[in-house]
Symmetry: C2
Subunit: 205 residues, 2 copies
């Protein structure tokens, strides 16, 4: 693209680095910002720069936090004997939204993915093992995506934690609520038959 | 959404104000930025803030520019007797990319749109009339979108400039190159028949 201004070109190039944002979308977004008040744009760029410079990660669960210990880990209403292991903060938000979980979390910060050069040492695995050594936890729940990366990570983590005297579980996989049988893929359907549950357990509470 | 951090929530809220960006996309983009180096994020927020604070608009054609007169208006290779009137800088870029136009531009900064509260006084109309008063221009070409807003603006601008002793033209409308007749809408096809051109003029040069 032939930009009429170097400043415009720079801003578009920066926006186009974001995932899923191409040159045309970047230009549209930048022109939108150009049409806003200066204060408005200052708020936008300020919020991002402030976020990156001031954000902290909870020293216990490694979730994104404003303080050195996050609200969930600091709360005395949460059950510390139950640790749910997730990929990132979005999963914490998703599980919190269900209002079905009262334990604490452990945020790995990613999944093992050799293709992207992410190995166990890039994730919060050692800190998870350290947490288990304190004997506070009685159960650990793996809530990882049902993908190749999720399964690889699950396999690796299980090897690391199986020696501890705790219950190890994973979230249930099966047919989603509202899902029609004929549209479910074979692997999910096949597994949901082999891992069938007693009728009483299948009722929504 | 329940954010674990106020800083994160603010940044997501700012991103979600961008057109076409919802809360989930905003969160994905913000988490991507959080994973980048501090310098990288500083470059991003800096580029946007610098753009908004330092950008200028060409005093002649009102296109986005780094200087008070843009490259096109300052160039002595451009034909100043030909003014192409466009909505915004994206249209200038699109026309420049064709390599078919050697005149200068006039950027309106929008189109008349009563629905969005944009009237003629919000656009660079008076400055266009002033430019015509200098008698430098011999032809004015309206290159506006073929939409309701584009047509309204065209109608209004024509009224404002018709008293000048210049040629007034609009870009040709018709069937796009590569377009198959059976998929063209009736209005375009109908008009392309009534505004048919001599065979010699239809050849690509």
């Amino acid at each position: 693209m032939n930009f009429s201004s170097k400043l415009l070109e720079n801003a578009v190039a920066e926006f186009a680095k974001l995932p899923g944002v191409g040159q045309k979308t970047a230009l549209r977004l930048v022109l939108h910002l150009l049409n806003q008040d200066k204060q408005e744009v200052e708020r936008f760029s300020g919020a991002i720069s402030k976020l990156r410079n001031e954000i902290q990660f909870c020293s216990v669960c490694h979730n994104i936090s404003d303080l050195s210990i996050c609200e969930i880990c600091a709360s005395n209403k949460r059950d510390r004997s139950l640790i749910c292991v997730v990929e990132d903060t979005r999963d914490v938000m998703a599980i919190e939204n269900t209002n079905q979980y009262n334990g604490v979390y452990h945020v790995l910060g990613g999944l093992i993915s050799p293709m992207d050069g992410i190995g166990p040492s890039d994730l919060q695995v050692d800190t998870l093992v350290e947490r288990l050594k304190t004997n506070e936890a009685k159960e650990i729940i793996f809530a990882l995506s049902a993908t190749m990366e999720g399964d690889t990570t699950l396999f690796y983590l299980h090897k690391r934690v199986k020696s501890f005297n705790i219950t190890i579980s994973t979230i249930a996989r099966g047919i989603a609520f509202g899902g029609e049988l004929e549209y479910v893929d074979e692997i999910t359907l096949g597994r949901s038959i082999t891992t069938r549950v007693p009728y009483e357990n299948s009722l929504t509470k």
